[in-house]
Amino acid sequence: MVSEAGIHIALKGVTRIYPAHSGHGEVYALGPIDLNIRRGEFFGVVGPSGCGKSTLLETLAGLVRPTAGTAIFEGKAIGAEVPDGIGVVFQEDAAFPWLTVERNVGFGLRHARVDSAEVARRVDRAIDFMGLGAFRRAYPSQLSGGMRQRVCIARTLVTRPRLILLDEPFGALDQQTRLLMGEELLRLWRDTAATVVLITHSLDEAAMLSDRVAVMSSRPGRFIAVLETNWPRDRDSRIVSEPGFGQLTSRLWTLLRDESRKALDAA
Protein backbone atom coordinates (compact mmCIF):
# COMPACT_ATOMS: atom_id res chain seq x y z
CA MET A 1 0.00 0.00 0.00
CA VAL A 2 1.44 3.39 -1.01
CA SER A 3 0.59 6.58 0.89
CA GLU A 4 -1.12 9.39 -1.07
CA ALA A 5 2.02 11.51 -0.58
CA GLY A 6 4.19 8.91 -2.26
CA ILE A 7 1.97 8.70 -5.34
CA HIS A 8 3.21 10.73 -8.28
CA ILE A 9 0.56 9.96 -10.87
CA ALA A 10 -2.69 8.04 -10.53
CA LEU A 11 -5.60 6.89 -12.63
CA LYS A 12 -8.96 6.44 -10.94
CA GLY A 13 -11.60 4.46 -12.83
CA VAL A 14 -10.27 5.68 -16.18
CA THR A 15 -11.93 4.48 -19.35
CA ARG A 16 -11.46 5.75 -22.87
CA ILE A 17 -13.97 5.15 -25.63
CA TYR A 18 -13.23 6.55 -29.10
CA PRO A 19 -16.47 7.71 -30.71
CA ALA A 20 -17.77 6.26 -33.98
CA HIS A 21 -16.00 7.83 -36.96
CA SER A 22 -16.23 7.50 -40.76
CA GLY A 23 -18.37 4.36 -40.77
CA HIS A 24 -16.46 2.66 -37.95
CA GLY A 25 -18.25 1.96 -34.69
CA GLU A 26 -17.05 3.31 -31.37
CA VAL A 27 -13.89 1.73 -29.97
CA TYR A 28 -13.73 0.81 -26.32
CA ALA A 29 -9.98 1.28 -25.98
CA LEU A 30 -9.21 1.32 -22.31
CA GLY A 31 -10.36 0.53 -18.83
CA PRO A 32 -11.68 0.83 -16.35
CA ILE A 33 -8.19 1.31 -14.94
CA ASP A 34 -6.99 2.19 -11.45
CA LEU A 35 -3.29 2.86 -11.10
CA ASN A 36 -0.92 4.43 -8.59
CA ILE A 37 2.66 5.11 -9.70
CA ARG A 38 5.11 6.00 -6.97
CA ARG A 39 7.37 9.03 -7.05
CA GLY A 40 10.77 8.08 -8.51
CA GLU A 41 9.52 4.70 -9.70
CA PHE A 42 10.39 3.06 -13.03
CA PHE A 43 7.08 1.60 -14.14
CA GLY A 44 6.85 -0.65 -17.20
CA VAL A 45 3.70 -1.54 -19.11
CA VAL A 46 3.43 -4.49 -21.48
CA GLY A 47 0.43 -5.73 -23.39
CA PRO A 48 -0.70 -7.19 -26.70
CA SER A 49 -0.85 -5.04 -29.84
CA GLY A 50 -3.82 -2.69 -29.92
CA CYS A 51 -4.62 -3.13 -26.22
CA GLY A 52 -4.59 0.60 -25.52
CA LYS A 53 -1.03 1.05 -24.22
CA SER A 54 -0.48 4.26 -26.16
CA THR A 55 -3.92 5.51 -25.13
CA LEU A 56 -2.93 4.83 -21.53
CA LEU A 57 0.27 6.83 -21.93
CA GLU A 58 -1.51 9.70 -23.69
CA THR A 59 -4.07 9.75 -20.87
CA LEU A 60 -1.25 9.97 -18.33
CA ALA A 61 0.26 12.81 -20.37
CA GLY A 62 -2.98 14.73 -20.62
CA LEU A 63 -3.02 14.38 -24.41
CA VAL A 64 -6.20 12.28 -24.31
CA ARG A 65 -9.10 13.00 -21.97
CA PRO A 66 -10.64 9.98 -20.30
CA THR A 67 -14.25 9.23 -21.23
CA ALA A 68 -14.81 8.45 -17.55
CA GLY A 69 -12.61 8.64 -14.47
CA THR A 70 -9.74 10.94 -13.58
CA ALA A 71 -6.00 11.17 -14.13
CA ILE A 72 -4.21 12.83 -11.23
CA PHE A 73 -0.66 14.22 -11.43
CA GLU A 74 1.03 15.48 -8.26
CA GLY A 75 -2.32 15.64 -6.50
CA LYS A 76 -4.14 17.64 -9.20
CA ALA A 77 -6.60 16.33 -11.78
CA ILE A 78 -5.22 16.61 -15.32
CA GLY A 79 -7.41 18.86 -17.48
CA ALA A 80 -7.35 19.68 -21.16
CA GLU A 81 -3.65 20.64 -21.18
CA VAL A 82 -0.47 18.70 -20.55
CA PRO A 83 0.64 19.66 -17.02
CA ASP A 84 4.04 21.24 -16.39
CA GLY A 85 6.60 18.69 -15.31
CA ILE A 86 5.60 15.96 -17.76
CA GLY A 87 7.87 14.97 -20.64
CA VAL A 88 6.90 12.51 -23.35
CA VAL A 89 9.06 10.53 -25.76
CA PHE A 90 6.93 9.10 -28.54
CA GLN A 91 7.28 5.88 -30.48
CA GLU A 92 7.37 7.73 -33.79
CA ASP A 93 10.36 9.70 -35.03
CA ALA A 94 9.54 13.13 -33.62
CA ALA A 95 12.84 14.92 -34.30
CA PHE A 96 12.00 18.03 -36.31
CA PRO A 97 13.76 17.67 -39.68
CA TRP A 98 14.07 21.43 -40.18
CA LEU A 99 16.13 21.93 -37.00
CA THR A 100 19.68 20.90 -36.15
CA VAL A 101 20.27 18.52 -33.24
CA GLU A 102 21.11 21.51 -31.04
CA ARG A 103 17.93 23.41 -31.97
CA ASN A 104 15.80 20.28 -31.64
CA VAL A 105 17.09 19.62 -28.15
CA GLY A 106 16.60 23.23 -27.05
CA PHE A 107 13.15 23.55 -28.64
CA GLY A 108 11.08 23.16 -25.46
CA LEU A 109 13.44 25.29 -23.39
CA ARG A 110 13.31 28.23 -25.77
CA HIS A 111 9.54 28.12 -25.58
CA ALA A 112 9.70 28.03 -21.77
CA ARG A 113 11.59 31.35 -21.94
CA VAL A 114 14.64 30.03 -20.18
CA ASP A 115 17.48 32.53 -20.71
CA SER A 116 19.78 31.75 -23.60
CA ALA A 117 22.90 31.02 -21.49
CA GLU A 118 20.95 28.48 -19.45
CA VAL A 119 19.47 26.99 -22.64
CA ALA A 120 22.97 26.57 -24.09
CA ARG A 121 24.26 25.00 -20.86
CA ARG A 122 21.40 22.50 -20.54
CA VAL A 123 21.43 21.65 -24.27
CA ASP A 124 25.20 21.02 -24.17
CA ARG A 125 24.79 18.76 -21.16
CA ALA A 126 21.90 16.78 -22.65
CA ILE A 127 23.70 16.38 -25.98
CA ASP A 128 26.84 15.13 -24.24
CA PHE A 129 24.79 12.85 -21.98
CA MET A 130 23.17 11.29 -25.04
CA GLY A 131 26.49 10.91 -26.87
CA LEU A 132 25.52 13.29 -29.65
CA GLY A 133 28.39 15.74 -29.17
CA ALA A 134 29.83 15.20 -32.65
CA PHE A 135 26.43 15.78 -34.28
CA ARG A 136 25.18 18.93 -32.59
CA ARG A 137 24.99 20.84 -35.89
CA ALA A 138 23.70 17.91 -37.94
CA TYR A 139 20.13 17.63 -39.19
CA PRO A 140 18.04 14.58 -38.23
CA SER A 141 18.25 13.22 -41.78
CA GLN A 142 22.00 12.81 -41.23
CA LEU A 143 21.49 10.63 -38.14
CA SER A 144 20.57 6.98 -37.63
CA GLY A 145 17.17 6.02 -36.19
CA GLY A 146 18.69 5.41 -32.75
CA MET A 147 20.44 8.78 -32.76
CA ARG A 148 17.24 10.57 -33.76
CA GLN A 149 15.45 8.88 -30.86
CA ARG A 150 18.25 10.06 -28.57
CA VAL A 151 17.65 13.59 -29.83
CA CYS A 152 14.01 13.22 -28.78
CA ILE A 153 15.00 11.88 -25.38
CA ALA A 154 17.45 14.77 -24.95
CA ARG A 155 14.72 17.24 -25.95
CA THR A 156 12.56 15.80 -23.19
CA LEU A 157 15.40 15.73 -20.66
CA VAL A 158 16.45 19.36 -20.93
CA THR A 159 13.09 20.49 -19.64
CA ARG A 160 13.82 18.50 -16.46
CA PRO A 161 10.47 16.72 -16.29
CA ARG A 162 9.47 15.14 -13.03
CA LEU A 163 7.51 12.48 -14.90
CA ILE A 164 8.94 10.96 -18.10
CA LEU A 165 6.54 8.99 -20.28
CA LEU A 166 8.11 6.78 -22.92
CA ASP A 167 5.97 5.16 -25.62
CA GLU A 168 8.01 2.32 -27.10
CA PRO A 169 10.95 4.66 -27.61
CA PHE A 170 13.28 1.92 -28.86
CA GLY A 171 10.76 0.18 -31.09
CA ALA A 172 12.69 0.80 -34.30
CA LEU A 173 16.10 -0.24 -32.94
CA ASP A 174 17.99 -3.51 -33.15
CA GLN A 175 18.35 -5.68 -30.02
CA GLN A 176 21.90 -4.62 -29.13
CA THR A 177 21.13 -0.93 -29.47
CA ARG A 178 17.96 -1.42 -27.42
CA LEU A 179 19.99 -2.90 -24.58
CA LEU A 180 22.47 -0.05 -24.65
CA MET A 181 19.73 2.57 -24.90
CA GLY A 182 18.04 0.84 -21.97
CA GLU A 183 21.23 1.27 -19.94
CA GLU A 184 21.33 4.95 -20.85
CA LEU A 185 17.73 5.27 -19.78
CA LEU A 186 18.48 3.67 -16.42
CA ARG A 187 21.43 6.03 -15.95
CA LEU A 188 19.20 8.97 -16.78
CA TRP A 189 16.52 7.75 -14.36
CA ARG A 190 19.05 7.42 -11.55
CA ASP A 191 20.63 10.81 -12.27
CA THR A 192 17.38 12.76 -12.52
CA ALA A 193 15.32 10.94 -9.88
CA ALA A 194 12.33 11.37 -12.20
CA THR A 195 9.41 8.97 -12.30
CA VAL A 196 9.47 6.96 -15.52
CA VAL A 197 6.60 5.16 -17.25
CA LEU A 198 7.75 2.95 -20.11
CA ILE A 199 5.31 1.41 -22.59
CA THR A 200 6.93 -1.43 -24.50
CA HIS A 201 6.23 -4.53 -26.57
CA SER A 202 9.43 -6.11 -25.33
CA LEU A 203 9.07 -8.28 -22.25
CA ASP A 204 12.87 -8.31 -21.80
CA GLU A 205 13.03 -4.55 -21.91
CA ALA A 206 10.22 -4.17 -19.38
CA ALA A 207 11.74 -6.80 -17.10
CA MET A 208 15.24 -5.29 -17.27
CA LEU A 209 14.31 -1.65 -16.76
CA SER A 210 11.30 -1.58 -14.44
CA ASP A 211 10.72 -1.60 -10.71
CA ARG A 212 7.22 -2.85 -11.46
CA VAL A 213 5.75 -4.21 -14.68
CA ALA A 214 2.03 -3.96 -15.40
CA VAL A 215 0.53 -6.50 -17.80
CA MET A 216 -2.43 -5.33 -19.86
CA SER A 217 -5.27 -7.39 -21.28
CA SER A 218 -6.36 -7.32 -24.92
CA ARG A 219 -8.76 -4.48 -25.82
CA PRO A 220 -10.29 -2.88 -23.84
CA GLY A 221 -6.97 -2.63 -22.00
CA ARG A 222 -7.07 -3.37 -18.29
CA PHE A 223 -4.33 -4.37 -15.89
CA ILE A 224 -4.40 -8.12 -15.30
CA ALA A 225 -1.29 -8.12 -13.09
CA VAL A 226 1.38 -5.81 -11.71
CA LEU A 227 4.65 -7.59 -10.90
CA GLU A 228 7.44 -6.29 -8.64
CA THR A 229 10.89 -6.95 -10.12
CA ASN A 230 12.88 -6.24 -6.93
CA TRP A 231 15.96 -5.20 -8.93
CA PRO A 232 18.55 -2.94 -7.29
CA ARG A 233 18.40 0.72 -8.37
CA ASP A 234 21.91 0.61 -9.86
CA ARG A 235 21.10 -2.19 -12.31
CA ASP A 236 22.19 -2.34 -15.94
CA SER A 237 21.69 -4.63 -18.93
CA ARG A 238 23.78 -7.40 -17.33
CA ILE A 239 20.73 -8.14 -15.18
CA VAL A 240 19.44 -10.25 -18.07
CA SER A 241 21.86 -12.99 -17.01
CA GLU A 242 20.33 -13.20 -13.49
CA PRO A 243 18.27 -16.38 -12.90
CA GLY A 244 15.38 -14.22 -11.63
CA PHE A 245 15.26 -12.41 -14.98
CA GLY A 246 14.25 -15.53 -16.89
CA GLN A 247 11.63 -16.38 -14.28
CA LEU A 248 10.20 -12.87 -14.54
CA THR A 249 9.97 -12.80 -18.35
CA SER A 250 8.51 -16.31 -18.28
CA ARG A 251 5.84 -15.15 -15.82
CA LEU A 252 5.11 -12.10 -17.99
CA TRP A 253 4.72 -14.28 -21.07
CA THR A 254 2.43 -16.70 -19.23
CA LEU A 255 0.21 -13.78 -18.30
CA LEU A 256 0.33 -12.30 -21.80
CA ARG A 257 0.04 -15.40 -23.95
CA ASP A 258 -3.75 -15.81 -23.87
CA GLU A 259 -4.29 -12.05 -24.20
CA SER A 260 -1.97 -11.88 -27.20
CA ARG A 261 -3.87 -14.80 -28.78
CA LYS A 262 -7.17 -12.96 -28.20
CA ALA A 263 -5.74 -9.78 -29.76
CA LEU A 264 -4.49 -11.77 -32.75
CA ASP A 265 -7.88 -13.47 -33.24
CA ALA A 266 -9.67 -10.11 -32.97
CA ALA A 267 -7.38 -8.62 -35.62
Binding site: E81, D84, F90, A94, W98, F107, H111, S141
Partner: protein, 251 residues
Amino acid sequence: MTKPVIWRLAIVAGAVLAIELACRTGIIDRVTMVPPSQMAVALVKMAVGAPWFWPDALSTFQNIVAATAMSIVPGFLIGLIVHAMPRLRAVLNPVFLSYYSVPTFVFYPLLIVVFGINSVSLIVMGAMFGIVAMVSATLASIDRIPRVYVKVARVTGLSPWQTAVQIQLPAATPHLITGIKLAVTYSVIGVIAGEFIIATSGLGRRLKLAYNDFDTATMYGLILLIFIAVAIVNIMLQHWESRVHRRWYRT
Protein backbone atom coordinates in the same frame (compact mmCIF):
# COMPACT_ATOMS: atom_id res chain seq x y z
CA MET B 1 26.16 21.41 -63.56
CA THR B 2 24.11 18.20 -63.51
CA LYS B 3 23.16 16.26 -66.62
CA PRO B 4 19.42 17.10 -66.43
CA VAL B 5 20.29 20.81 -66.22
CA ILE B 6 22.58 20.53 -69.25
CA TRP B 7 19.80 18.74 -71.16
CA ARG B 8 17.24 21.35 -70.11
CA LEU B 9 19.50 24.18 -71.30
CA ALA B 10 20.21 22.32 -74.52
CA ILE B 11 16.48 21.86 -75.21
CA VAL B 12 15.76 25.57 -74.58
CA ALA B 13 18.73 26.63 -76.71
CA GLY B 14 17.63 24.22 -79.45
CA ALA B 15 14.07 25.57 -79.41
CA VAL B 16 15.31 29.19 -79.57
CA LEU B 17 17.63 28.32 -82.43
CA ALA B 18 14.83 26.52 -84.30
CA ILE B 19 12.49 29.52 -83.93
CA GLU B 20 15.31 31.85 -85.00
CA LEU B 21 15.88 29.78 -88.14
CA ALA B 22 12.15 29.41 -88.84
CA CYS B 23 11.69 33.20 -88.63
CA ARG B 24 14.82 34.01 -90.63
CA THR B 25 13.99 31.58 -93.43
CA GLY B 26 10.36 32.76 -93.66
CA ILE B 27 8.76 29.54 -92.41
CA ILE B 28 7.19 31.79 -89.77
CA ASP B 29 6.29 35.19 -91.22
CA ARG B 30 7.46 38.36 -89.47
CA VAL B 31 3.92 39.57 -88.69
CA THR B 32 3.29 36.43 -86.66
CA MET B 33 6.64 36.32 -84.88
CA VAL B 34 10.04 38.01 -84.94
CA PRO B 35 13.27 36.03 -84.46
CA PRO B 36 14.32 35.65 -80.80
CA SER B 37 17.46 37.72 -81.45
CA GLN B 38 15.22 40.59 -82.57
CA MET B 39 13.05 40.12 -79.46
CA ALA B 40 16.16 40.55 -77.33
CA VAL B 41 17.23 43.65 -79.28
CA ALA B 42 13.70 45.11 -78.94
CA LEU B 43 13.77 44.44 -75.19
CA VAL B 44 17.14 46.15 -74.74
CA LYS B 45 15.97 49.13 -76.83
CA MET B 46 12.84 49.47 -74.71
CA ALA B 47 14.82 49.23 -71.49
CA VAL B 48 17.27 51.89 -72.63
CA GLY B 49 15.05 54.24 -74.64
CA ALA B 50 11.34 53.88 -73.83
CA PRO B 51 10.29 56.31 -71.07
CA TRP B 52 7.33 54.12 -70.10
CA PHE B 53 9.37 50.90 -69.74
CA TRP B 54 10.69 51.08 -66.19
CA PRO B 55 7.57 52.63 -64.57
CA ASP B 56 5.34 50.03 -66.27
CA ALA B 57 7.67 47.12 -65.51
CA LEU B 58 7.93 48.27 -61.89
CA SER B 59 4.15 48.62 -61.62
CA THR B 60 3.58 45.09 -62.97
CA PHE B 61 6.21 43.45 -60.79
CA GLN B 62 4.98 45.30 -57.70
CA ASN B 63 1.45 44.10 -58.43
CA ILE B 64 2.68 40.54 -58.95
CA VAL B 65 4.62 40.59 -55.67
CA ALA B 66 1.59 41.98 -53.81
CA ALA B 67 -0.79 39.47 -55.44
CA THR B 68 1.59 36.61 -54.64
CA ALA B 69 1.85 37.72 -51.02
CA MET B 70 -1.95 38.03 -50.86
CA SER B 71 -2.25 34.49 -52.23
CA ILE B 72 0.37 32.90 -50.02
CA VAL B 73 -0.21 34.43 -46.59
CA PRO B 74 -4.04 34.39 -46.47
CA GLY B 75 -4.02 31.11 -48.44
CA PHE B 76 -1.88 29.47 -45.76
CA LEU B 77 -3.98 30.89 -42.92
CA ILE B 78 -7.26 29.88 -44.58
CA GLY B 79 -5.78 26.42 -45.19
CA LEU B 80 -4.87 26.16 -41.49
CA ILE B 81 -8.33 27.23 -40.35
CA VAL B 82 -10.15 24.95 -42.79
CA HIS B 83 -7.89 22.06 -41.81
CA ALA B 84 -8.75 22.59 -38.15
CA MET B 85 -12.50 22.43 -38.96
CA PRO B 86 -13.22 19.13 -40.76
CA ARG B 87 -16.91 19.96 -41.28
CA LEU B 88 -16.08 23.27 -42.95
CA ARG B 89 -13.53 21.42 -45.07
CA ALA B 90 -16.16 18.89 -46.17
CA VAL B 91 -18.38 21.80 -47.24
CA LEU B 92 -15.63 23.73 -49.04
CA ASN B 93 -13.81 20.83 -50.68
CA PRO B 94 -16.03 20.77 -53.81
CA VAL B 95 -15.54 24.55 -54.12
CA PHE B 96 -11.75 24.15 -54.02
CA LEU B 97 -11.84 21.29 -56.50
CA SER B 98 -14.01 23.12 -59.03
CA TYR B 99 -12.60 26.62 -58.47
CA TYR B 100 -10.29 26.59 -61.47
CA SER B 101 -13.07 25.42 -63.78
CA VAL B 102 -14.73 28.83 -63.27
CA PRO B 103 -13.17 31.64 -65.35
CA THR B 104 -12.10 33.98 -62.55
CA PHE B 105 -11.83 36.88 -65.02
CA VAL B 106 -15.64 37.19 -65.04
CA PHE B 107 -15.18 38.94 -61.69
CA TYR B 108 -12.72 41.54 -63.06
CA PRO B 109 -15.44 44.01 -64.08
CA LEU B 110 -16.89 43.71 -60.60
CA LEU B 111 -13.45 44.41 -59.07
CA ILE B 112 -13.15 47.50 -61.27
CA VAL B 113 -16.54 48.72 -60.09
CA VAL B 114 -15.55 48.15 -56.46
CA PHE B 115 -11.89 49.29 -56.50
CA GLY B 116 -11.56 51.28 -59.74
CA ILE B 117 -9.10 50.88 -62.62
CA ASN B 118 -5.97 50.69 -60.51
CA SER B 119 -3.45 48.39 -58.87
CA VAL B 120 -5.87 47.19 -56.18
CA SER B 121 -8.16 45.55 -58.76
CA LEU B 122 -5.16 43.88 -60.39
CA ILE B 123 -3.71 42.68 -57.10
CA VAL B 124 -7.07 41.26 -55.99
CA MET B 125 -7.47 39.63 -59.42
CA GLY B 126 -4.01 38.03 -59.14
CA ALA B 127 -4.67 36.95 -55.56
CA MET B 128 -8.02 35.41 -56.55
CA PHE B 129 -6.13 33.33 -59.08
CA GLY B 130 -3.44 32.16 -56.68
CA ILE B 131 -5.13 31.84 -53.31
CA VAL B 132 -7.02 28.58 -53.84
CA ALA B 133 -3.89 26.85 -55.11
CA MET B 134 -2.25 27.90 -51.85
CA VAL B 135 -5.21 26.81 -49.71
CA SER B 136 -5.28 23.40 -51.43
CA ALA B 137 -1.50 23.00 -51.06
CA THR B 138 -1.73 23.97 -47.38
CA LEU B 139 -4.47 21.41 -46.73
CA ALA B 140 -2.51 18.68 -48.50
CA SER B 141 0.70 19.70 -46.69
CA ILE B 142 -0.84 19.65 -43.23
CA ASP B 143 -2.43 16.28 -43.97
CA ARG B 144 1.10 14.99 -44.46
CA ILE B 145 2.57 16.41 -41.25
CA PRO B 146 3.25 13.54 -38.83
CA ARG B 147 0.70 13.84 -36.01
CA VAL B 148 3.45 13.27 -33.50
CA TYR B 149 4.81 16.79 -34.19
CA VAL B 150 1.54 18.29 -33.00
CA LYS B 151 1.65 16.06 -29.91
CA VAL B 152 5.16 17.37 -29.19
CA ALA B 153 3.77 20.89 -29.54
CA ARG B 154 1.05 20.12 -27.01
CA VAL B 155 3.51 18.58 -24.55
CA THR B 156 5.73 21.65 -24.99
CA GLY B 157 2.72 23.85 -24.19
CA LEU B 158 2.55 25.73 -27.48
CA SER B 159 -0.59 27.74 -28.23
CA PRO B 160 -2.49 27.00 -31.48
CA TRP B 161 -0.84 30.06 -33.08
CA GLN B 162 2.65 28.99 -31.94
CA THR B 163 1.93 25.48 -33.19
CA ALA B 164 0.93 26.89 -36.58
CA VAL B 165 4.04 29.08 -36.90
CA GLN B 166 6.68 26.97 -35.16
CA ILE B 167 5.53 23.47 -36.12
CA GLN B 168 2.97 23.30 -38.91
CA LEU B 169 4.51 25.95 -41.16
CA PRO B 170 8.06 24.52 -41.15
CA ALA B 171 6.82 20.92 -41.17
CA ALA B 172 4.66 21.63 -44.20
CA THR B 173 7.36 23.57 -46.09
CA PRO B 174 8.54 20.84 -48.50
CA HIS B 175 4.98 20.37 -49.74
CA LEU B 176 3.99 24.04 -49.42
CA ILE B 177 6.65 25.04 -51.94
CA THR B 178 4.48 23.45 -54.64
CA GLY B 179 1.62 25.73 -53.56
CA ILE B 180 3.92 28.75 -53.51
CA LYS B 181 5.12 27.97 -57.05
CA LEU B 182 1.51 27.72 -58.24
CA ALA B 183 0.55 30.90 -56.38
CA VAL B 184 3.38 32.80 -58.12
CA THR B 185 2.38 31.43 -61.52
CA TYR B 186 -1.31 32.20 -61.07
CA SER B 187 -0.57 35.68 -59.71
CA VAL B 188 1.54 36.45 -62.80
CA ILE B 189 -1.29 35.25 -65.05
CA GLY B 190 -3.92 37.21 -63.08
CA VAL B 191 -2.00 40.49 -63.04
CA ILE B 192 -0.72 40.44 -66.63
CA ALA B 193 -4.06 39.30 -68.03
CA GLY B 194 -5.89 41.92 -65.94
CA GLU B 195 -3.57 44.62 -67.30
CA PHE B 196 -4.19 43.26 -70.77
CA ILE B 197 -7.97 43.61 -70.39
CA ILE B 198 -8.07 47.05 -68.83
CA ALA B 199 -5.47 49.04 -66.89
CA THR B 200 -3.79 52.44 -66.86
CA SER B 201 -0.25 51.06 -66.68
CA GLY B 202 1.76 47.84 -66.68
CA LEU B 203 3.42 45.41 -69.05
CA GLY B 204 0.12 43.67 -69.86
CA ARG B 205 -1.33 46.97 -71.07
CA ARG B 206 1.81 47.68 -73.14
CA LEU B 207 1.47 44.19 -74.64
CA LYS B 208 -2.10 44.96 -75.69
CA LEU B 209 -1.10 48.33 -77.19
CA ALA B 210 1.73 46.71 -79.15
CA TYR B 211 -0.63 43.96 -80.32
CA ASN B 212 -3.23 46.52 -81.46
CA ASP B 213 -0.53 48.51 -83.33
CA PHE B 214 0.94 45.41 -85.03
CA ASP B 215 4.20 46.30 -83.24
CA THR B 216 5.36 42.67 -83.17
CA ALA B 217 8.92 43.42 -82.05
CA THR B 218 7.76 45.34 -78.94
CA MET B 219 5.13 42.71 -78.17
CA TYR B 220 7.63 39.84 -78.30
CA GLY B 221 10.23 41.89 -76.45
CA LEU B 222 7.76 42.28 -73.59
CA ILE B 223 6.82 38.59 -73.73
CA LEU B 224 10.54 37.76 -73.54
CA LEU B 225 10.89 39.99 -70.47
CA ILE B 226 7.99 38.25 -68.74
CA PHE B 227 9.44 34.85 -69.67
CA ILE B 228 12.84 35.77 -68.24
CA ALA B 229 11.34 37.16 -65.01
CA VAL B 230 9.14 34.09 -64.46
CA ALA B 231 12.05 31.75 -65.27
CA ILE B 232 14.30 33.51 -62.72
CA VAL B 233 11.62 33.25 -59.99
CA ASN B 234 11.03 29.59 -60.85
CA ILE B 235 14.73 28.78 -60.76
CA MET B 236 15.00 30.44 -57.34
CA LEU B 237 12.00 28.49 -56.02
CA GLN B 238 13.38 25.29 -57.52
CA HIS B 239 16.71 25.93 -55.81
CA TRP B 240 14.94 26.51 -52.48
CA GLU B 241 12.88 23.34 -52.92
CA SER B 242 15.99 21.27 -53.70
CA ARG B 243 17.76 22.67 -50.65
CA VAL B 244 14.83 21.86 -48.33
CA HIS B 245 14.50 18.35 -49.78
CA ARG B 246 18.24 17.72 -49.45
CA ARG B 247 18.14 18.79 -45.81
CA TRP B 248 15.06 16.73 -44.94
CA TYR B 249 15.53 13.57 -46.90
CA ARG B 250 19.31 13.10 -47.08
CA THR B 251 20.20 9.54 -46.15
